[in-house]
Symmetry: C2
């Protein structure tokens, strides 16, 4: 059985239960046995993380930056191995996905997080010099990170966005790996362990549990020694953990599910129907539709053009190769989602068929529903069918676009395509204010699948897309703020202040809000 990374060493699980990776392209388990940890493993990790935090909580950001940069370098040395293993475990293509996009993104995130940690601006240092009150976001404490199945690198619990953000904010991390890619996670953990030793991080600063049950997960996120959690995964498991964390007042930042509605307004549909159908089909089937920001619902106005669009998309769905899904559970949930949508009133346009028993997959499936029927069961018709399926809503009239928007659940994204000649502007203006409150990111004339790592990105949104509408999981430095606590120093003596809150700005790189003015200067210079 493969050992766990706990308290700075690879040690055996205290339990006996195991699992193995499965190659979804062959439906075959492969590789070593990995432990399903009992509570004792998790508790050991918690104690070690708490001890590590005692050591690092006063460290400057540069220490965490050193680790993150060393870690990125260690990953690069293992890049070919990681990419190849991730491909075996997830069936996501090496190229153009894992090697060309996802791993570079992972490295970029770690390095951007390092730069943010070194710089310190993410802490929003705020100085009131007259009152001698100073505050910033300090580290919150040990963080648990639950990674999802669909990004074995960029959201890996041991290397992805939440990991990078929690570490850059100065916190130890207990990673809970996703059981669909344990060996990829193991490779990351080996690199992380090596980097932690090379940069003198305390034992227990980065730790890894491969798998544990929901009950232990709930104990972990609500434990007195844990400060906060980052979670990306299914809504069902996420809500179990959230409930436990909430009861103990522990922040639980989660990305749960999202249908990501796409509005194609009548004017633009007339202008470039074929191009839109192609753009949508590509986005909907990219990565076999297994993106958090996959466009799951399209709204079109009833009429011959809508029918033509649906049939164009159906053709493309039929022609496109059927991608392999991440695992058995993904296939099961996708099929269950399609059944739920049909029960709620949607009908199949194309697909909904098994295609190849030798791998996990299901035909590219397009469903449709009339706007009136959607309004009869808006919750049922927003069942997430995670994977290569999408639902088109054929909307009755302009008013119904707005009415349906009122029933859209909190979502990560909302896209509106509209004519450039102004024909759709009146309708846009009716839809936008309603849609704006429902989604974290509003797009124009563009599919939602790409999530740029930009300081202005919001990969977040109102519940149930996430658990707090004020935070983003992607985009540095904003994603770090989830893992900070607001620390105020009132009348604290100058030599006892953390360096970033002293009159002199160490390094002159951090932006600080001094007496109402953002500046990188020292206090006296800023006045």
């Amino acid at each position: 059985m493969h050992p766990l990374l706990i308290n700075g060493e690879w040690r055996p699980s205290q339990g006996k239960a195991t699992f193995r990776a499965v190659n979804p392209a062959k439906r075959q388990p492969f590789g070593e046995e990995f432990p399903i940890s009992p509570w004792e493993d998790v508790e050991e990790a918690l104690v070690a993380a708490d001890r590590a935090f005692d050591q690092v909580k006063t460290w400057p950001g540069a220490r965490f930056a050193d680790f993150l940069e060393s870690y990125a370098a260690a990953i690069e040395l293992r890049a070919a191995e990681i990419v190849s293993m991730a491909n075996l475990e997830t069936a996501l293509p090496v190229s153009p996905r894992l090697k060309d996009v996802e791993l570079p993104r992972t490295l970029g995130q770690l390095r951007q997080a390092a730069a943010a940690a070194r710089d310190g601006s993410w802490k929003l240092p705020t100085l009131d010099t007259a009152a001698n009150i100073r505050s910033y976001l300090g580290p919150i404490g040990p963080v648990a990170v639950f990674g999802p199945n669909n990004f074995p690198c960029a959201f890996n619990s041991m290397a992805g966005g939440d990991f990078a953000a929690a570490v850059a904010a100065g916190n130890p991390v207990i990673a809970k790996g996703h059981p669909l890619h344990p060996q990829t996670t193991q490779l990351f953990a080996e690199a992380a362990h090596e980097a932690a030793e090379a940069t003198d991080m305390p034992r227990g600063f980065v730790q890894l549990i491969y798998h544990t049950d929901h009950e232990n997960g709930a104990r972990l996120v609500s434990h007195p020694l844990l400060a906060a959690s980052g979670y990306t995964g299914s809504r069902q498991a996420g809500l179990i953990l959230k409930s436990a964390a909430d009861q103990h007042g522990k922040p639980f930042y989660a990305e749960l599910s999202s249908v990501n509605p796409v509005y194609i307004l009548p004017g633009v549909l007339e202008e470039k129907l074929d191009a839109l159908a192609a753009e949508f089909a590509t986005s909907a089937l990219m990565g076999t539709g297994q993106f958090c920001t996959n466009p799951g619902v399209v709204l079109l106005k009833k009429g011959p053009l809508a029918e033509k669009f649906i049939s164009a998309v159906a053709t493309k769905f039929g022609e496109a190769p059927v991608g392999t899904l991440l695992g058995e559970s993904t296939e099961v949930h996708l099929r269950a989602g399609i059944v739920a949508l049909q029960r709620a009133g949607a009908t199949i346009v194309t697909g909904n068929k098994p295609v190849d028993n030798s791998r996990y997959c299901y035909s590219n499936t397009l469903l449709k529903v009339a706007g009136n029927d959607f309004l009869a069961d808006p919750i049922g018709l927003q069942t997430e069918a995670f994977g290569n399926a999408a639902l088109i809503i054929v909307v009755e009239d302009d008013e119904q676009f707005v009415e349906i928007t009122r029933h859209i659940e909190g979502s990560l994204t909302g896209c509106v395509y509209s004519s450039t000649n102004g024909r759709d502007d009146a309708l846009y203006e009716q839809i936008e204010p309603v849609l704006r409150q429902k989604v974290g990111r509003l797009l124009n004339d563009k599919m939602p699948t790409g999530v740029a790592v930009s300081p202005a990105m919001n990969h977040g949104g109102p519940f149930p897309a996430t658990c707090h509408p004020g935070f983003t999981a992607v985009g540095i430095p904003a994603s770090l703020r989830r893992f900070g606590m607001l620390q105020c120093y009132d009348n604290v003596r100058a030599d006892r202040l953390p360096p970033l809150l002293r009159n002199e700005n160490p390094g002159q790189t951090a932006w600080r809000l001094i007496d109402g003015k953002w500046t990188q200067a020292d206090v006296n210079a800023a006045r």
Copy 2:
């Protein structure tokens, strides 16, 4: 029965149940009957708030600023009446409290919030011009504000810090008044209604429910039409509401309770024991101890000086006039808190006696407990005895200062008094990193009772002091951010962007983070 302010008019409650204010200095009910609202009242307010939000959600901050400024002016016209009514309802003195400090603070908060709304910097506008991704904090939607008993003006649900922050962030407010000061709240609501009409705010923008039960409160904070809540009050009621809000993913910003530990280290105790005893007694008894930041626990090192300090404080507690408590429930809870502390192992030094049956009050009460006994029941010995009572912990040795700190619950504040000659520095350095993670605001050489309205203030802290360690309830503009949702615009056409996210910075007053640099300039000038 006094009417409610719902949907822009004063209308009768749909229920029959009522309550009246009580003069705590006389134990006598007085004034009109006020409604205890059934669900139907609350639901009407929700529907009206939702409608109001539809109208205001795209408004510029200046509109909310106009209202807040007009409201402050309307309050000023009623200042004498408000202060006198607040005094009758709470027994807090007109001078130096209500007239000289609390009402001016209330007006100051409303005007600072107005300035923040007008300026827009609170939204943290963030522009990535190369990617054309832009984001800021937009309004979150209708907010419920539950005010506490202890600040009839500065935290009034209809005029206090949460009200000002929620409105300045662009949100309609449903105020749930505190039943101990309905007539004060009514006066505020009359001024607010007048200001709302004068500044053309939509009906339902500011509304008032005087009282309702916990069940309706739970339905309110978790209702689909409500976006978030601000709550200040008892931990028990707060946790009921929090649980309901959490289940529906609604942010619930609450300030629940806090013991606010004060450390007096051995060196400084030797230097100025008498002055410290006087400073502590004054802070502990100020406002009859009814401050969220009241110093409820003092830690001293065992020895003759500790005994001398305790006896000096006991003398002052005995000599100081016994203030009147806010109401019957306050007296009941204070006495129950003292009983609970005794059961947990504390002993009475002085007080713990009824003093005057003609008003709500209880003798100034000082308790003490040995450090070892504290460690035997740290939760029981942190029972909040809200009012004029305090507990002194006599700590065994330096190590135990740290050990006890590890058991301190999340608190709003933590104060450390230490010698200026360096004698206490080694101990300070041991205590500080542990205490730092337990409290929102760390003070040196100063009691915690004053909470300056400063941009750098943190009136917040880890659970159970509040429900999220990243936010403050006092301090503008930071307190506004609780009532914002992160709104990202990805590739959105220039003329459809909200003004604050366009290339031109309207008014050049808002600070915006453009391509990594904070500036008040336009995009082109900033490059």
